[in-house]
């Protein structure tokens, strides 16, 4: 094993991490501020990918596709929040789980109806379809772009949340929503803003995943489960937790997958290692989450109260 390979794997983990962060950021705020479990967040990611793929095919411009994907999911998020989900904030988690579970079915079928059951085509823009060379190994430039875009968004969110009035309200809402509304803030508006923003970020994640993953019905579910793991590991309601949680999950998953089978092959027989390696690697992040929750139920980086 060379340093180049190790570095490549770390970059891969980082890339998965920032993608997860885009999803986790919106979801964790919705969790934290509205105390709302939104399983349909993965569906917004899927819609972002579809909007992006369709717009990219129609316009040929990735920038335009990005704008349409983000604005499209933002509007969609706004609409479903106002029509259905808003009424569920005061309900218990069970109702929320159920209603958003229903939404997943609806979104998957709508996509199947509009775009057909097969995956649709979306590739990276021409300028980013090559590779860059690192320690003698090639790394796809598109993945670099994802990392860069993800970190930029993270920095932007940091500024938004720590330096603006809206951010202050969001922080206040995450630590004590009732108090914020008692102070005369239009909490309904704040909720809708946060929800739509989260939807837009999910749409952005969907767009960025479009060129590396297959754009198809149901693509939101696996990533939703990963995002839930991120949020719970990082600490519900905390953007900081979402960021570190996403990076940890991304790195553990990728590095585990890459090196666990090799490590196992050094200790046990090759054929067993080949079978057991990926099996254990795929359980690794759930194991991580279970351990974190058992030892620190509030997550690794919880919201600071008081």
């Amino acid at each position: 094993m060379t340093w180049g390979l190790f570095l490549t794997q770390v970059l891969n983990g980082l890339q998965l991490g920032v993608l997860l962060f885009l999803l986790a950021a919106g979801l964790t705020l919705v969790f934290g501020i509205m105390n709302f479990v939104n399983l349909a967040h993965g569906s917004l990611y899927m819609m972002g990918a579809y909007f992006g793929a369709a717009a990219f095919a129609a316009t040929g411009s990735f920038i335009a596709a990005g704008a349409i994907a983000v604005v499209g999911t933002l509007v969609l998020g706004f609409a479903i929040e106002r029509v259905a989900l808003m009424r569920l904030y005061s309900r218990d988690h069970l109702d929320q789980v159920l209603a958003t579970f229903g939404l997943i079915l609806v979104f998957n079928e709508v996509v199947r109806y509009l775009w057909g059951p097969s995956s649709i085509y979306m590739n990276a823009p021409e300028a980013l379809s090559g590779q860059v060379t690192l320690f003698g190994l090639n790394y796809p430039s598109y993945r670099f772009a994802i990392i860069a875009a993800g970190l930029t968004v993270a920095a932007g969110l940091y500024l938004l949340i720590n330096k603006t009035r809206l951010g202050m309200l969001i922080r206040a809402g995450a630590s004590n929503a009732e108090m914020v509304s008692a102070l005369g803030v239009d909490i309904k508006f704040l909720n809708t803003m946060v929800f739509a923003m989260g939807a837009g970020l999910a749409g952005l994640a969907g767009l960025m995943a479009g060129p590396i993953l297959s754009v198809q019905p149901g693509m939101g579910e696996p990533v939703l489960i990963l995002t839930l793991v991120v949020i719970v590991t990082g600490g519900i309601g905390s953007i900081r937790g979402a960021f570190y949680g996403a990076l940890i999950v991304g790195l553990v998953d990728t590095v585990g997958r890459a090196f666990l089978p090799i490590l196992l092959q050094m200790t046990i027989e090759r054929s067993i290692a080949q079978a057991a390696g990926p099996a254990i690697a795929s359980m690794l992040i759930y194991l991580l989450m279970a351990v974190v929750l058992a030892l620190r139920p509030q997550g690794l980086f919880p919201v600071r109260h008081g």
Binding site: D95, I225, I231, P297
Partner: protein
Amino acid sequence: MVDFRSARFWIPLVVLAGFALLPVYAGLTGQSFYVTLFSRILIYALAAVALNFVLGFGGLVSFGHALYMGLGAYAVGILSFHGVTNGWVHLGAALLIGGLFATVIGAVVVRTGGMTFIMITLAFAQMGYFLAVSLKQYGGDDGLTIDARSLMGVVDFGNNTVLYYAILATLIAALWLFNRILGARFGFVLKGTKSNERRMLALGFPTLRYKLSAYVISAMVCTLAGFFLANFTKFASPSYMQWSVSGELIVIIVLGGMGTLFGPVVGAIVLLLLEEILQGWKPGIYPPFEEIVNKHWQLFIGLFVILVVLYAKRGVYGYFAEARRE
């Protein structure tokens, strides 16, 4: 106390009587397929009743009970694979494995609550799913075919009708068991913990232990459903443990009426029959629309679920049972 005029009394009675008579009707009309359809409904009802015990009465929203269905199914599958055909051994192994997993997992999860509880139960179920997928010797993702149904002595599971009645009897026994537990001190502590855990702690009840016991009991009844599912399909598959199955169980509970003992049974009938009807819905009024319904039936299930949550919170059975009492 039983109020003979209340809906809580006669709905279960009528439904259970209907279940009991169904094979007779199927036999008379020569439509033995109904026995199969309703066997599946009964299995889901049994699992949902078990989940409802912790979810509806204990306030523990487990999003991973499909794991226990899967464990029950694999207990039958793996034992049969190794030539053990005795059904009582299958049954014992299923309950044992289910109980063991539930104790270990439960010990971790009941310490948490709210959203964390939902997520952590989901995580454990996912781990079980990936474990089953990686069991290469037992079919991995393709699942494990079971040559013959469990041998249960005089009770011949090989006969669909006998299997049907066995599941029905188990469901009735489970309802009776949960009814007894809920009417006893244990049930009161459990319900009290749901509404105010701190008070129960202050009263000196070790609520953790109560929650854990409830979780284990519920999980074990769920493995029973898995045991029957494996016998019914002669197949054990990782897909039994998929997170969407856990979701379906919750849908069934809420559809029927959460926090009512019999609600999940009604919910299972409504959901599974609705799926069946939507797929074959052809009244011939406007065929293009009907074709969309047949092809995209999940869309309508999704909308139905959302509408139930928004407007019919108490569920179908809950609606009737409560309406009469008011």
